[in-house]
């Protein structure tokens, strides 16, 4: 059996998550909420533990808890902006603690849970891949459907509110979509690294292109390409796919950063010659 026939569910799932996560990340990063993705990952972990405990799908548990967590973080952050970092910390650590306690009580503190922490993309079944694919499409459709509002609020939230946009509802919508992204992405890169796929490809794209639209498209492309390359390398090198995918994205960031600097130096030299 060729590698491709074994790997195709992993590659498809990786590409879909790799494309969807930065699409949400483009907006999250703009709102300076890069760490929210990380927090939602922690919260999703509690959802997984609760799901395993109740005997329902861990994905469903993560989905419900992460979406609720996204809404909760947004509401608390708004009510008490000075305490925003404490609110995030409470959600982060309260969730991890809940996950550990629930898992120990239910006896699921085992390899199963470990798999969700670090991802298990190579064991994704075609059925799981279909679920991941459907959710990734929901995320991309959500971004497309609310594009005007999300972009206006990401550029300048106050001006968007004055212009008649329901900014609070949009923020809640973005948090729900971020929660979905985390829940879907955790199967591919794991809870500890899923936020990286929301943020790092956006950093890569921001170094290379100018407009918001191009940033979103390029970040999704970088995310998908990192997933495919990471899975391929991991297969060859027998390394952990989740870490390999994220390291590919980190390498892309370093490369993009170099390209931006070189372009800047070139432009300055040209300007110097013209003067």
């Amino acid at each position: 059996m060729s590698a491709l026939s074994l790997l195709w569910p992993a590659l498809v799932a990786g590409m879909l998550v790799g494309a969807a996560a930065p699409a949400i990340g483009t907006f999250v990063v703009q709102k300076r909420l890069s760490l929210v993705g990380d927090g939602l990952g922690h919260i999703a972990f509690a959802g997984v533990a609760i799901g395993l405990w109740l005997g329902i799908s861990p994905l469903a548990g993560a989905l419900a808890v992460a979406a609720l967590g996204g809404v909760g973080i947004d509401a608390l952050r708004r009510r008490n902006p000075e305490e925003a970092d404490m609110v995030l910390a409470l959600f982060f650590y309260g969730s991890i603690a809940t996950a550990v306690v629930v898992a120990s009580l239910s006896g699921t503190f085992n390899v199963n849970l470990f798999g969700f922490l670090f991802g298990q993309v190579l064991t994704v079944t075609p059925a799981e891949m279909a679920a991941i694919g459907a959710l990734a499409l929901v995320i991309l459709a959500g971004v497309a459907g609310l594009y005007r509002g999300l972009v206006a609020a990401a550029i300048d939230e106050e001006a968007a509110a004055v212009g008649g946009l329901p900014v609070r509802a949009l923020n809640v919508g973005l948090m729900v979509l971020a929660g979905l992204t985390i829940a879907v992405g955790m199967q591919v890169v794991g809870i500890l690294l899923v936020a990286a796929m929301m943020v790092i490809p956006v950093g890569v794209a921001r170094n290379l292109v100018r407009s918001f639209r191009s940033t979103l498209v390029a970040a999704s492309a970088v995310g998908a390409a990192s997933a495919v390359a990471g899975i391929g390398i991991a297969w060859r090198a027998d390394s952990a796919p989740s870490g390999t995918i994220v390291l590919v994205a980190v390498a892309a960031y370093a490369l993009a950063s170099g390209v931006r600097r070189a372009r800047g130096a070139l432009a300055r030299r040209r300007a110097g010659e013209a003067a």
Binding site: G149, I155, V162, G163, L165
Partner: protein
């Protein structure tokens, strides 16, 4: 140079700005920060077609009044209305163009000038920006003299240019009411004059203008009304008198 406020009543555009009520209205508005009261029972009506300037010393509460008027701050007492609707009404706000005091857009935002201006047309959150949005954004950029910079990233522009982009963003939605908070603070003299011409032309086309500023500046010739905010209350200053006393009356009113 004498003002002719009557000429606006004859303009078709001025009438279209009027609906259920004045373009902007404050009824008995009070506002207090923790440090103390800043607005005390203010009544103000800006009718459709007017070009009203609110002046006052630093810390007099001009910006606070403006933010209450457009629903960004809730008053402690009284109410703010736009076009006869509560200031928080999304439909009323969609007819409003707002230019904040300073560009609040982070230089890290990966958005082009054109995208920032087109965002001013996002009254509905659904769907993508369309060709009509892009065309309106390009027209608005042309009005502030920045058409050639439309493809640049917003963070690459100077502070003065960014301020003009924000003015274009407010214009892009073809607002019936334009509210500006010291829009030309820190902008060079030539840009201020160009900007004053744009505002004057818009007002002649029927757009109501409510602007907060430190002094009359370049817009002096277009004003139909001057209001001075002093110790939480508003005084009407005859426009002709305000023009003659540019720079003088501020000291009088700032106590």
């Amino acid at each position: 140079m004498s003002p002719a406020p009557d000429r606006r009543a004859a303009l078709p555009g001025a009438a279209s700005g009027a609906s259920a009520g004045p373009a902007l209205e404050l009824r008995g508005v009070s506002f207090a920060y923790e440090s103390g009261s800043i607005l005390g029972g203010i009544d103000l009506r800006v009718a459709a077609g007017e070009f009203a300037l609110l002046v006052g010393a630093n810390g007099s509460g001009k910006t606070t009044l403006l933010r209450v008027a457009i629903g960004l701050l809730a008053p402690a007492a009284g109410e703010a209305r736009l076009f006869g609707l509560p200031a928080g009404d999304l439909g009323a706000r969609a007819r409003l163009g707002y230019v904040p005091q300073r560009a609040a857009i982070s230089p890290r935002v990966p958005a082009t000038v054109l995208e920032v201006v087109a965002a001013g047309r996002a009254h509905s959150p659904y769907g993508f920006f369309r060709r009509a949005d892009r065309a309106a954004a390009e027209r608005a950029l042309g009005r502030v003299g920045l058409a050639r910079l439309s493809g640049r990233r917003i963070g690459e522009l100077s502070g003065g240019q960014q301020q003009r982009v924000l003015i274009a963003r407010a214009l892009a939605s073809d607002p019936a009411l334009l509210v500006l908070d010291e829009p030309t603070a820190g902008v060079d003299r030539a840009s201020q004059e160009r900007f004053a011409e744009v505002l004057g032309a818009l007002n002649r086309d029927g757009v109501t203008v409510f602007m907060v500023a430190h002094d009359l500046g370049a817009v002096a010739g277009s004003l139909t009304r001057v209001l001075a905010l002093h110790q939480g209350h508003i005084d009407e200053v005859p426009v002709a008198e305000a023009r003659e006393r540019v720079g003088v009356f501020l000291e009088d009113h700032s106590g």
